[in-house]
Amino acid sequence: MSEPTLIMGAVAYAPKVVTIWEGFKAFFAKNGLPFDYVLYSNYERQVEAQFDGTLHLAWNSPLAWVRADRIARSRGQQVQAVAMRDTDCDLRSVVVVRADNPVQTLQDLRGKTVGMGALDSPQATLIPLDHLRTEGLLKPRDFKLRYFDVLGGKHGDHIGGERDAALALMAGEIDACCLIDGNHLAFGLDGTLPSGSTRVIARTGAYDHCNFTTSPGAPAELIERFVALLMAMRWDDAQVRPLLELEGLREWRAGRTSGYALLERAVDDENFYSRDGAILNPDYRY
């Protein structure tokens, strides 16, 4: 009988995803790990496939991790975050206004329009909403929320929503927008938000991003080899480096779950998922 193959799920949020996982598949095969991947068009169906025996593990967004964890707990099962990128740790999002806008603090946003990313974006929507809530600002009571909803179900992996919001900010269509901190720098460098044209009025707390989430009952020995091979990937290795660059990391790190508290709270406060992982938001399309 041939050796079992480790099956991983990934969401095709951009064409490069095929390049990335074909590259990883070849890397794992070369190193003796039978590995294959299944692409999903959205994280919801991917997480569900972690519980019907289709997938041994999944490359999950932070929101997908929250849902997988909730579904597992509600069934008395367990999922684990076994690895993540160095760049997944300790991100922050920012609330940005135009430099010429009289708004100075979050309190000044009362009655104004705030642009956010996709409905399901942790970094551009859910965590910023949580931050505003902790500052006493609730939608729609205190401010108008305009979503820049690009590619629902992809949990904001597609940067398009943040970029659209930034462009709307510059066009004067909204008073503030919410971005991941690195994108504020990137948009400054590429001219989307010309340097000096915006002002950061708030930063959220630190949070973590994606992780490899194991499915309940995943074959432990294969998972162990998978993680060991990830950790052995070196930026120095010219064969591996292009894949790491595409995936946006310098090195893999052991998974941790300490960085999802803000998102957990936002998911509850925004009624996005129930405690057992059911989708509650009636406007969510994916």
Partner: protein
Amino acid sequence: MAPSSTPTIDIESLGLDQGALLLIRRALAERPVGGELQVRGRSPDWEMHLEAWCRSQGHPLRFDTVEGRPQARITRGPHAEGRWRDAQATGTALGDINGAPADDAEAGWGLAARGATVEAGSPNFFFALHRRHELWAATAGELYRQAGAAQWDPATAIEWDADFDLPPAIEAAVVQVMTFLIENENAALLVPARHLGQIHPHFREVLQLLALQCADEARHVEVFTRRATLRGHEPALSTAGGQASLRTLFDAPDFSVATFLLAVLGEGSFVNLLNFLQANAPDPVTRQIARLTARDEARHVAFGMAHLEYRLSVQPDYQSKLRNAIEVRYDALASTAGLNEEVFDALVLLAAGELSPAAIARGHSAVQQLQRDMAAGRRARLARLGFDRDEAERLSALHTRNFM
């Protein structure tokens, strides 16, 4: 407290999205892996941007407060250096002591400038012509410089509005000769162009020279077309035999054979033809065109000769391939008509300038002399490539009757 020995840069009020990243990257590049750099700044978002950038680059970062101002302490991560580990050397820009490039240009060098350092893992480019002996000529660089300096502007180099009036039969002969020249120049443009796209750019000089050679031919097509239509005529006749002869140039098995048939034998003969037109054409415009194009063609022949001399110097037995190529081409064309009657007659008429028997006799004699000159030129070039006298004579006689 003793002053810190850690280097410190102050980016002042310059934002990371305004160029400060450049200063930070340069300062950090001077630190060893694990070494520290302190950064101070005053722009509104510099700390946040630095945090995001260090995260994306894998540099650990922490902030201290010094004299009431935040000061960043970056530890240089190991990754930036990794990019240049096992990088590939690609020779030197000017070549070796003899100015020659590498024996064999590697696929992984790709499009990089000769002499550049190429990151390992760069994509492979599979250029079919990557071995020096298959394309090189010792004088390629010099010929390229000459070609660059000798480019001329068709709009100004030729006196298009020169006053002349030819009898209709003579004008028609000129149009027929131009028609013949255009199809030959189309071949002379496209055959090297097909090889050009296959040449590894490490062999810069050959690439540049062939690019200019294509530009030369494009210009020739332009001026021949303009002369053909100068008096309101359309181009004239194109024969199956003529095109069959040119077609064989596209079938040449490699760059060296194509260069041998096209440049050494074909364009070599064309130089004679253009010199003939310069001496015998009935109008000043045609004579000027012939003079300028002959100069370009002579350079193409020079490259062809230099390449084959180089190839034979490192691969003497390649001579049999050249011999074989002429014989195969002769066999392929044995059943075709060769030079069309219309072109031959047009050349006679053009040299005669009028239809009187005496003038035609003069024209006919000039064309016969042209054919003798072409054959002598081919024999001389074959001899320079090491063929003995009898062999050169025999092979010269097998050359296509279509001239090119």
